[in-house]
Amino acid sequence: MENKHITIFHGPQHPGITGNMSIELDLLGETIQKATTHVGYLHRGFEKLIERRTVIQAFTIVCRICVPEPDPNEANFAMAVEELAGLEVTPRAQYIRVMVLELSRLAGQFLWMAGQSGSIGLYAVGQWAIADRDLILDLFEELTGGRVYHMYIYPGGVRRDLPEGFLEKVSSLLVYMKKRLKDYDDIFINNASFKNRAIGVGVISKEEAIANGYVGQVLRGCDIKADVRKDAPYLVYDELEFEVPTQTAGDVYARALVRRDEMDQSLHILEQVVEKMPEGEVMIKMPTHRKFKLPKDDTWVKVESARGEFAYYMAGDGSEKIRRMQVRGPSLVHAYTLLEDLLVGAELSDVALIMNSLGICPPEIER
């Protein structure tokens, strides 16, 4: 029987899509001839809202820019405001920020593991990963009062000090995670079902990755040692030891191996943070919020999120409101420039697999 040309929509209501977006696929049989990304299902206009709010009012909404990973947004926002206003946070606040960001990276990787395994039908992995991510969310709840949105990394420091016995709880979780991650190697990373599906699929070349501005595991999966924490260290990352894992194949499996190795590195960083946590204040004295004005100046700040470099452009205009805040996460370029190219020639059954490996978060495109 002859193959026919058909067009189908993959998402927005689809378990294999990473959020509220859709990919229009032109197929010949099951092979993709053309892929077109569509967003616009949850536009919330945060960048516009922020222009009409005071600095502190804007702080309450930045964490909502990316649901699976709110903390890099809080960190970028705080760092940009502090840089424009000339504020310097205390060493203890910086260590606490690193702890929150690394816990957030771990939680983000568990969520990726759930999505990536689900995309090929390994549902048990997803259930384990969500349950283990919940242990991190429990810690976040105790520290910040919120499980998903924390509103904790605040310009000038962090919103409150660590509760009593919190570092011991983090240490216990690290011991558990070290042991537990080996189970994921057995059930997921070394699982022949995953390897057979992921090796040689969604291959990206090194040259293309650099030239087109791709970030995170997409770069590291192509043997490029790119990590903002090493390349342009922020907070206290230059005082901590860790490796930047890389792989050479540039395919879905290489990106998965990089992510798995990064989880080990996050545990290693957290161990050091627990050990080195300095005493002192967690918040500096801030101007009252209605008198807190940013000078007419601009800056560009970035952190390494679980999905790669996450940056903010921020401009002040001498008033108490932010003139412009533009978000540059991994998703805009990955969902359009990269995904639309990578899917051409791929099989329909690999769409969710490839998409999950790129770390695309649609809320961050429609910010």
Partner: protein
């Protein structure tokens, strides 16, 4: 290396020094007509190979958009912000999409949000919005509240589908009436109490 680069930029392009914002972040403001030349120089001579972002800030009171092209070196250790001012009315800017593939989507985003026409970018179609015919939403003159008031209506049957001003006035009037009624009842009770006492004394 940086010093040589800064000197060359100042000599060839800018009227003032390159601003060192952090040890990994530099910024320079240049005329739009020299933008491509500077980006090419940084890319070809100083290893700024990746275009990270194109940002836009609307300075409505000054009549221009500030477009900032953010470039990063191959080792990702240094970032350069090249800022150029363009007129905010009927803005036309040459595209960078033929040199940096990712510029296509970045320009499409800015085209939708600010109405900037990137000449040569053939993919400036709708991104997040649908059938949008109003002022591009990130321009400063676009008033969100006014747009909502003029174009959107509350869905029937919602609890919050009320005129908040009228509702506040009604609730205040109710509260005031209740307070006055309570005061009146209290006064009446006191009068009654006095009467009762007088009757008792009379006995």
């Amino acid at each position: 290396m940086e010093t040589i680069m800064f000197k060359e930029i100042k000599k060839r392009f800018a009227t003032y020094d390159v601003e060192v914002k952090r040890n990994d972040l530099y910024k320079v403001g240049i005329k739009y007509s020299r933008l491509f030349e500077l980006v090419h120089m940084l890319r070809d001579q100083y290893d700024y190979k990746t275009l990270n972002a194109i940002t836009c800030t609307d300075w409505i009171e000054e009549g221009h958009f500030a477009l900032t092209y953010i470039l990063t070196t191959l080792d990702r250790k240094h970032t350069f912000m090249i800022q150029t001012m363009v007129n905010r009315e009927n803005t036309q800017v040459e595209t960078f999409s033929h040199e940096f593939k990712q510029a296509e989507i970045m320009e499409r985003d800015l085209h939708e949000m600010y109405g900037i026409d990137f000449i040569g970018n053939e993919n400036l179609k709708e991104l997040s919005l649908e059938n949008w015919v109003h002022t591009p939403p990130l321009r400063r003159e676009f008033d969100t509240l006014e747009f909502v008031t003029n174009h959107l209506t509350f869905r029937e049957g919602r609890d919050d589908n009320v005129d908040t001003k009228a509702e506040t006035k009604r609730l205040r009037a109710l509260k005031k009436a209740a307070k006055e009624a309570a005061k009146k009842a209290k006064e009446e009770a006191e009068v009654q109490k006095l009467k009762d006492e007088e009757v008792k004394d009379g006995k």
